[in-house]
C-alpha cells in the first residue's frame, strides 16, 4: 500500500501538483459528480499574494488609492507576523483562476487545490446566485476594459478628477445592485462597441429629463397633476445616478457604471459566505480523506492537512477574546457535514425535522442545496437542532428601550425555530444593510434629490451619514436630502448636503 503514496515529502513540485490535481479531479468528477469550470492554477509568491489581496482579489483592476491602502495594511500585518496570508485566492471566472502560494507545503497545496479548484469552483458554476448575477466567462475581459477605460479617463481628465469620482462610487458600491432583475451579460468587445453608442444615448435621455422647455402639456390635464420622479422609489442608487444625474459627463456615467458592474459581480459572494466556504471546506475535507482511504497520501500528510483544517473551522465562544462573530467556515462546514449525516444516519429528531432528506442520496441532497440557496435561506432550511446544540447557540435581543439584554432563545426544544429564524435573518443582506431608496427628485425646482431610509426595528444610520451625503452630492451635482421613515411611516429629515 505504501508504494501508492504520491509523495512523502512536504516539498512541492509542478509534477507533484499535477499528479495531485489529477487524482483529486478524478475523485471530484467521477466519484462525487462535481461539475466545475476548467481550472487555471497559478503559483505565485507571497508578495504577489499581497498584491492580489489588495485589489479585492481581482487579478486585474483599475488603479485607486484605496487598493494601495489595503496593500499597505496587508503588507504591514503580514510583515509583523500578525497574520498568515490566506492559502488561496480563487476567482469566479471561466476558466476558474486559483492562486497557490509558493511558500506552502505540498499537503497545503493539495488542500488548496481541493478547496478552491474543486470546492469553490463547483459552487461558482452551480449556485443560482452566481449563475444569475455574474458572467464567469466575461469578467476578466470586462476588468480589462474597465482598467483601460479608467486609465484613459485619467489621462484625459486628470488623476484627481477620476479619483474623486471613484471615491464616491465606491462609497455607494453596495447600493449599485439590481436585486430582482438579471443583469445583461458582460463582454469586453461588446462593451467597447456599445460604450460609444451608450454615451450618446444616455446623454440624450438625461437631456430629455432636464429639458427646460415645457413639453406641450395636455390642457385637459389642467396641468395640476404633479408626477413624482422617479414614479417608483429606486433602490439601485448608482444606477439611478448613472441614468439621471444632471451634470455628469458621459465618461463619468461610464465610470459609475463600471463600479456598479463590479459591485454586482461581488453581490453573490456577499450573500453566500457561509455556503461557499462551507461547501469548499466540506469538499477539501472529503476529497483528501478519500485520497487517504485509497492510500494515496500518508499519515504525515493527513496530520498536516487536519491541523490546518481544524484551525480553519475553529469557532471561539462568544466570551472568548478571539470571538468576532460566527465563523462562516465553521458554520458552513458543520452544516454541510450535518446534511450528509442526516441523509446517512438520521436520528428520530432528524426524521421529524427533515422528512424530505432523511435516507436520500446525500450527494444529490447536497448538490440541490448548493445550487438553490443563499446563506439566509440555506440556514432557514437546513440548520438542524443538533447543530444548534453543538454550537451552543443562543439569541440575544438588544433593545435600546430596555435596561438589559434579553436572552430570547437557546438551544432547546422551545428555542430551535426562533434561533434558526434569527440566525437566518442575520445573513439577510436586506436587514444587514440599511434600506435606502431614491424617493424624489425636484425636477422642476432646485433639482434636489431626496433619499429615504426605511428604518427597520428602529435602527438608525451610523455616523457616516454626513460623509455619505457629501459623496452622493458630488455625484448628483445638486442638493441631496436624506429622510428617515420610521415604522409608523413618520418622516423626518436626517441630513442635507
Amino acid at each position: 500500500m505504501a508504494d501508492k503514496i504520491i509523495s512523502e515529502s512536504s516539498e512541492w513540485s509542478f509534477p507533484l501538483l499535477e499528479r495531485f490535481d489529477r487524482e483529486i479531479a478524478r475523485l471530484a468528477h467521477d466519484e462525487y459528480g462535481l461539475d466545475t469550470y476548467a481550472n487555471q492554477i497559478e503559483v505565485i509568491s507571497s508578495e504577489q499574494m499581497i498584491d492580489a489581496y489588495s485589489s479585492v482579489g481581482l487579478p486585474i483592476n483599475y488603479h485607486h488609492w484605496s487598493f494601495g491602502k489595503q496593500f499597505v495594511a496587508t503588507e504591514q500585518t503580514y510583515r509583523r507576523g500578525h497574520m498568515g496570508l490566506a492559502y488561496e485566492i480563487v476567482i469566479n471566472s471561466d476558466p476558474c483562476i486559483a492562486y497557490l502560494m509558493e511558500e506552502n507545503s505540498l499537503p497545503m497545496q493539495a488542500l488548496v487545490i481541493a478547496h478552491a479548484c474543486y470546492g469553490h469552483n463547483s459552487f461558482f458554476k452551480g449556485n443560482y446566485l452566481f449563475r444569475t448575477w455574474t458572467s464567469a466567462d466575461a469578467i476578466i475581459d470586462y476588468l480589462v476594459f474597465a482598467r483601460h477605460y479608467i486609465a484613459e479617463c485619467e489621462e484625459r481628465y486628470g488623476d484627481e478628477e477620476v479619483e474623486l469620482l471613484l471615491d464616491s462610487c465606491h462609497a455607494l458600491m453596495n447600493y449599485g445592485v439590481d436585486r430582482y432583475k438579471r443583469p445583461s451579460p458582460l463582454s469586453m468587445a461588446e462593451e467597447q462597441k456599445r460604450q460609444r453608442e451608450r454615451e450618446a444615448y444616455l446623454q440624450s435621455q438625461v437631456n430629455d429629463l432636464w429639458r427646460t422647455l415645457p413639453v406641450g402639456r395636455d390642457p385637459a390635464d389642467g396641468g395640476v397633476a404633479e408626477h413624482r420622479f422617479p414614479a417608483e422609489p429606486q433602490e439601485n442608487l448608482l444606477y439611478f445616478i448613472e441614468k439621471n444625474a444632471p451634470l455628469l459627463e458621459p465618461w463619468q456615467r461610464e465610470i459609475v457604471r463600471i463600479v456598479r458592474k463590479i459591485g454586482q459581480y461581488f453581490y453573490p459572494q456577499r450573500q453566500t459566505q457561509v455556503m461557499n466556504e462551507g461547501w469548499a471546506t466540506f469538499w477539501h475535507y472529503t476529497l483528501l480523506n478519500r485520497l487517504y482511504d485509497k492510500g494515496l497520501v500518508g499519515d504525515g500528510f493527513m496530520i498536516e492537512m487536519l491541523q490546518s483544517h481544524t484551525n480553519v473551522v475553529y469557532q471561539p465562544a462568544f466570551d472568548s477574546p478571539h470571538y468576532s462573530g460566527i465563523n462562516p467556515y465553521a458554520l458552513g462546514f458543520a452544516m454541510m457535514t450535518d446534511i450528509r449525516r442526516i441523509c446517512e444516519q438520521p436520528t428520530d429528531e432528524d426524521r421529524h425535522w427533515f422528512p424530505d432528506i432523511v435516507g436520500q442520496d446525500w450527494q444529490a441532497v447536497l448538490d440541490f442545496a448548493m445550487r438553490n440557496f443563499k446563506d439566509e435561506s440555506f440556514i432557514a432550511q437546513y440548520l438542524s437542532p443538533k447543530l444548534m446544540r453543538d454550537f451552543h447557540l443562543f439569541a440575544v435581543r438588544d433593545d435600546d428601550l430596555e435596561e438589559t439584554l434579553e436572552i430570547t432563545a437557546i438551544h432547546d426544544e422551545d428555542g430551535y425555530r426562533r434561533l434558526r429564524q434569527n440566525l437566518a435573518e442575520q445573513y439577510n443582506l436586506g436587514t444587514r444593510e440599511p434600506n435606502l431608496q431614491v424617493y424624489d427628485v425636484d425636477v422642476r425646482g432646485d433639482r434636489s434629490l431626496t433619499l429615504r431610509h426605511f428604518r427597520h426595528n428602529r435602527r438608525p444610520l451610523g455616523e457616516t451619514v454626513d460623509d455619505m451625503l457629501r459623496h452622493i452630492r458630488r455625484l448628483w451635482g445638486f442638493d441631496v436630502r436624506l429622510e428617515a421613515v420610521d415604522e409608523l411611516g413618520r418622516v423626518h429629515l436626517l441630513g442635507e448636503a
Binding site: 503559483v43 498584491d51 485607486h64 476558466p95 465562544a317 451552543h392 443562543f394 435600546d400 457616516t464
Partner: protein
C-alpha cells in the same frame, strides 16, 4: 483539464501605483507623521525607513451603516449558563459582538487607532525633504564642469596592448583569412576535380598532366597555409573617451560651540540639525565630505565622536572657528569643484568684541566661497551680540540664513524654513 502556470517570476509590485496614490493622497498627514517621527527618532538611525501612523478616521472609506440603537436580534455561539428569558447586563462598550461580522469596526471605532504602516527609506526621505531644495544649485551645475569621466566609445585600430579586444581581433582575423584564401581554395577545388577526372579516365599517375596538376595543387595549398593567422591589420582596441561631468560633490562644515554653556541637550539638538542637513545634501550630491569643527576659545578639527560627545568648558570665541574653517577650505577644498556648505550651531554666547570680527570674516572671506551658510542659535534666552552681528551678514549675503531653535520640535520646521523652495 487543469492548467498550471508558474507566475512567480511575473510582475511583482503590481500595487506600486496604488501605493503611490495612497501616499500622495495622504501626503499632508504623512508629512506631519514624518516630522513627528524625526523629532522622536534617536539620532543614530536618522535615515532608515520609518513606521508612521495616520489617524484611521482620516482615511476611512465610508459606507452606509447601521448605528447604535434600535432593536437587534443576534445569535452567538458558546452558551453555557443562559436560559431563555434571562436578562443580562449590557457588556461594557457594547462589545457583545457583531455576528454579521460588520458592526465591530464601527462599534469599537471610537478608539483613535492609527493606521500604521512602514515607509521605505526613499519614501521617508522624499516626504521629509519634500518641497525643499538646495539654494543656489543652478549656479553650481553651470560651474562644476571640471571633472571628467572615462566612457567607452567603440573600437579603434590602434591603442595600447592592454586595450586589445581579443574577440574582436580574432573575428577580424577569421574574416581576413577567409577572404584572402577564397580564390586559392576555389582554384584547388577545380584542379582536384580535373585530377579526379583524369584518374577516372585511366590516365597513369606518372602522366605529365597528372604531375603538373598535383604540383599546382600543392603550390596553392602552401599559399593558403602561408596566410598569417593573425595580422596587425586585424587588431582592434577598445576605445575610451573622456566626457566632462558636472561635479557633484560637496563638503559640509559643521561648526559647533562646545563651551560650557552648550550642554548635552543642546548638543543633541545641534546634532539633529547637522544630520538632517547631511541627509539632505546626500540626496543631491554623489559624495559628501564632512568636516567637524568645534570651538570654545580656540577651534580644532575633530572626528565625529569627539565632536558630539566630548565636553569642554570655557569661554567662547567664535571667530577662531571661522578662521579654521577658512583654512580648511583653502587647503583642501579650494579647487572650485567643491560645493561648500556650512552649518553653525551655537547658543549665541560670544566675547563681545569677537562678534564684529566674525562679521567681517564672514562677509569678506567665507561667504564668497560658500553655497549656503546656515546658522542656528539654540537658546531659549535673549539673543546676544553674535545674533545681531550675523544679521548684518545676512543683509550683505542672501545665501546666509539664520534661525533660532528652542527645542527638538523646532528643528525640523526651522530646517524646512532654511531650505524652503524659493519660487522664482
Amino acid at each position: 483539464m487543469s492548467h498550471f502556470i508558474d507566475r512567480r517570476l511575473g510582475s511583482k509590485n503590481k500595487s506600486t501605483v496604488n501605493r503611490q496614490r495612497f501616499l500622495k493622497r495622504y501626503k499632508s498627514q504623512l508629512k506631519r507623521a514624518v516630522s513627528d517621527a524625526v523629532n522622536r527618532r534617536s539620532i543614530t538611525d536618522m535615515e532608515g525607513g520609518e513606521q508612521v501612523g495616520i489617524p484611521s478616521r482620516d482615511i476611512s472609506e465610508p459606507t452606509f451603516q447601521h448605528g447604535q440603537g434600535g432593536r437587534r436580534d443576534m445569535v452567538h455561539p458558546g452558551n453555557r449558563e443562559f436560559e431563555a428569558g434571562d436578562r443580562v447586563q449590557r457588556p461594557e462598550g457594547g462589545g457583545s459582538g457583531s455576528g454579521s461580522g460588520q458592526g465591530r469596526a464601527s462599534k469599537d471605532g471610537r478608539g483613535e487607532d492609527d493606521f500604521v504602516f512602514q515607509l521605505s527609506r526613499e519614501e521617508f526621505l522624499d516626504l521629509l525633504f519634500d518641497d525643499l531644495e538646495l539654494p543656489n544649485l543652478v549656479r553650481n551645475q553651470l560651474l562644476g564642469a571640471t571633472e571628467f569621466k572615462t566612457v567607452r566609445a567603440g573600437y579603434t585600430t590602434d591603442g595600447s596592448p592592454s586595450n586589445i579586444d581579443v574577440v574582436r581581433s580574432l573575428k577580424g582575423a577569421i574574416g581576413r583569412r577567409t577572404a584572402l584564401g577564397a580564390p586559392h581554395r576555389r582554384r584547388v577545388r577545380e584542379l582536384e576535380a580535373a585530377l579526379e577526372q583524369l584518374l577516372a579516365d585511366g590516365v597513369a599517375e606518372t602522366d605529365a598532366r597528372v604531375v603538373a596538376l598535383r604540383e599546382e595543387i600543392d603550390r596553392l595549398k602552401s599559399r593558403i597555409a602561408a596566410l598569417p593567422f593573425i595580422d596587425t591589420f586585424d587588431l582592434r582596441y577598445q576605445s575610451f573617451t573622456r566626457q566632462p561631468e558636472p561635479t557633484s560633490k560637496a563638503v559640509m562644515l559643521c561648526i559647533m560651540d562646545v563651551s560650557g554653556s552648550m550642554d548635552q541637550l543642546r548638543k543633541n539638538l545641534a546634532k539633529r540639525f547637522f544630520i538632517l542637513l547631511y541627509l539632505f545634501l546626500q540626496r543631491n550630491y554623489d559624495r559628501i565630505d564632512v568636516v567637524f569643527i568645534r570651538h570654545h576659545t580656540i577651534a580644532q578639527e575633530v572626528d565625529e565622536q569627539e565632536f558630539f560627545y566630548s565636553r569642554e568648558t570655557g569661554g567662547t570665541v567664535v571667530s577662531s572657528a571661522l578662521n579654521l574653517a577658512y583654512e580648511v577650505i583653502s587647503e583642501r577644498y579650494a579647487s572650485g569643484s567643491w560645493n561648500i556648505y556650512a552649518a553653525q550651531a551655537s547658543d549665541g554666547d560670544n566675547w563681545d568684541s569677537d562678534s564684529s570680527i566674525c562679521r567681517e570674516l564672514l562677509i569678506n572671506r567665507l561667504m564668497p566661497l560658500m553655497r549656503y551658510y546656515a546658522y542656528v542659535e539654540i537658546t531659549p534666552r535673549q539673543h546676544q551680540s553674535l545674533w545681531y552681528a550675523y544679521q548684518d551678514v545676512k543683509a550683505a549675503h542672501p545665501h546666509f540664513a539664520m534661525e533660532a531653535i528652542d527645542g527638538a520640535e523646532d528643528i525640523y520646521p526651522v530646517f524646512r524654513e532654511l531650505f524652503r523652495r524659493q519660487d522664482a
